[in-house]
Symmetry: C2
Subunit: 212 residues, 2 copies
């Protein structure tokens, strides 16, 4: 296990600025000069503290992935709701998170697209593996109670969930013009997308995993 690293005030400012600008403009789109300006810090401080832009990205990602991991593990451990309800919460959480942090998730998608084994790809890998394990135990739980059927392909099930949401976000401009929603307020459109994605995925998952 990695020891927790203490960050100074300026380091935190840099990480926050990076998180914001990476999320808004992507990894390549946010230059170190932009980030330094946003954090009100000299450009050289980024290399000084983090070594490189890439390492800075790792720090940002590590911060975010810890939160995600905890949330999923707490959901699985919850004894007050049924396995199917947990799956529904999982879907809603994922849809919400992706919609509200679109640009940041796009960075993750881009990073996974590269075949290179970058440190960031390794971190994403680690997070996904952990979450997949949690979800497998959740499915097993549902199978024990008889709610879920046998022979569920959990990996492809998750691939479909992540893929559907990603694709929806990725092609949202296409979706907008297709439904004459260009004029719609951004917030309203996000609510619409959230609802429609959630409904679609819950229907899909119910058919995939339950006995009728």
């Amino acid at each position: 296990m990695r020891p927790e690293i203490e960050f100074s005030e300026k380091q935190v400012a840099i990480i926050q600025a990076a998180e914001k600008l990476f999320a808004e403009h992507g990894f390549d789109g946010a230059s170190v000069r932009d980030i330094a300006q946003e954090a009100d810090v000299n450009v050289a401080m980024i290399s000084y503290y983090f070594g490189s832009k890439e390492k800075l990205m790792e720090a940002v990602f590590e911060k975010k992935s810890n939160a995600t991991r905890l949330k999923v593990e707490n959901l699985i451990a919850d004894k007050t709701i049924s396995p199917l309800q947990k799956v529904y919460v999982l879907i809603d959480d994922y849809v919400d998170k992706f919609i509200h942090q679109q640009e940041f998730h796009k960075i993750m998608l881009r990073e996974q697209m590269i075949n290179k084994h970058t440190p960031i790809a390794a971190l994403i890998h680690e997070l996904k593996k952990r979450n997949l394990e949690s979800i497998k135990t959740l499915i097993a739980e549902g199978q024990k109670t008889g709610e879920f059927k046998r022979n569920i392909d959990v990996i492809l099930m998750m691939t479909t969930m992540v893929g559907t949401v990603s694709q929806m976000i990725t092609s949202q401009h296409f979706y907008k013009t297709l439904n004459n929603m260009e004029h719609m307020e951004e917030m309203e459109f996000q609510r619409h997308m959230r609802k429609r994605l959630s409904t679609h995925l819950k229907n899909l998952f119910k058919k995939m995993i339950t006995n009728e």
Copy 2:
């Protein structure tokens, strides 16, 4: 309708080189110098003939999208197979194309991720809209024969198909290590992926669109 443009020998060489290198290294990853070398042509010829790297990409994309459009339209018009079989063929074709031209499809994904209304995004947009129309008529056909049920959300259905395949390709390295397949031959792994994706999507679609 756009008039067909005649390309000289060198222009064709450039387009082919670009198609190859874009597919192997992505848009940013393939420099104009690399492309010029591959086509055995001076760097300046790219700007001279196509105006810019971006415009070159448009030419490459346009060439490819014509083939796709024709294939889908021919499938829909086929009177020898049932609507459900057509959907299955559609799935297989899409899975195959994506698997065999992974890097090129990644370019399309990246291009759609950018919110900017680039000319390439517009071309993708156009192609997708056309294909979506074809598929809607296919679904309507199946509904008329009673094979398919009413109230099918075609847009989200396609989002799930495209998204699932994209996500599988995008995270294939993760998938490999998860199943201890790092050692597997690339061709064999592709066959495996193709089969598993195809099966999963056909199951999914059958449940989504048919009455039982």
